[in-house]
């Protein structure tokens, strides 16, 4: 029971993180571009959501190792999907941090490009997650 509870808590964080990394990035631009101060808050949210994704992703491995002394067994397509997700997380965290530190000096076009890149990385990670789930 506690094993399932632990997996469920990790999954809960991972699911809400997944919704946030894509949803918040989309709402920064669509249906209308948000004012700069709001976009800055959204950048915080996206950064925190990606950090939650990374930590909860590690959480699956930690729970597995605690109960079975083994990590999830991923090969082939599933392992490639995991690497894609990790790359998206690292890239998105980097963009979010850069946005928070330097976006004040960016043009509107550069800000839009950053948000579009965050949307693309979020969508890519969610797509990879589906392959990770069913090809492992």
């Amino acid at each position: 029971m506690f094993e399932n509870l632990n997996y469920a808590i990790v999954q809960l964080v991972h699911n809400f993180g997944a919704a946030a990394v894509v949803g918040v990035a989309i709402f920064a631009l669509y249906p209308a571009a948000q004012p700069v101060p709001i976009q800055r808050r959204f950048a915080w949210l996206v950064g925190i959501a990606w950090a939650a994704q990374a930590l909860s992703g590690m959480g699956f491995g930690i729970v597995s190792y605690y109960y079975y002394e083994k990590l999830p067994d991923l090969h082939g397509i599933a392992f490639a999907a995991l690497l894609i997700k990790i790359t998206c997380a690292v890239g998105s965290l980097g963009i979010a941090v850069m946005y928070l530190r330097r976006a004040a000096g960016w043009t509107v076009k550069q800000r839009r490009a950053a948000w579009k890149l965050l949307i693309a990385l979020g969508v890519t990670a969610l797509t990879a997650a589906a392959f990770l789930r069913w090809f492992a």
Binding site: N6, Y7, Y66, Y67, Y68, L71, P72, D73, A78
Partner: protein
């Protein structure tokens, strides 16, 4: 904030459950009925693995491995999977029961087969 405290407490409490109790996989099992252990196989013939699995309480599906590399995910509890033709030499075929996180829970069956040389 209170919800996050409850979730964190559950995670911590859950990790204090003795591993031997939580990770009991004794009710899961794997049987490979064909090929038999030590079988000698023709290099021209396909290798079909006949299996029967009981997932138990913790298992969700199984992974089939050829020489430690995962060949395929098996969703059925009973059936046959073709590995095609194998290269000459010794090969290990394993089926492991895994949970929803794709972690092997302990129940597994491994067999060794020998594919004869073509010469």
């Amino acid at each position: 904030m209170r919800i996050s405290y409850v979730l964190a407490a559950s995670l911590v409490l859950g990790c204090y459950v003795p591993v031997s109790f939580a990770a009991d996989a004794s009710d899961a099992s794997v049987v490979i009925s064909s090929p038999p252990e030590g079988a000698k196989i023709s290099p021209k013939g396909d290798v079909n693995v006949d299996y029967e699995v009981s997932l138990g309480k913790k298992g969700d599906h199984t992974h089939l491995y050829l020489d430690s590399n995962e060949a395929v995910t098996l969703r059925g509890l009973k059936g046959s999977h073709s590995l095609g033709t194998l290269s000459p030499g010794q090969h290990e075929i394993c089926i492991k029961v895994v949970n929803k996180a794709h972690t092997p829970i302990g129940a597994q069956k491994c067999i060794n087969v020998s594919v004869e040389s073509t010469t």
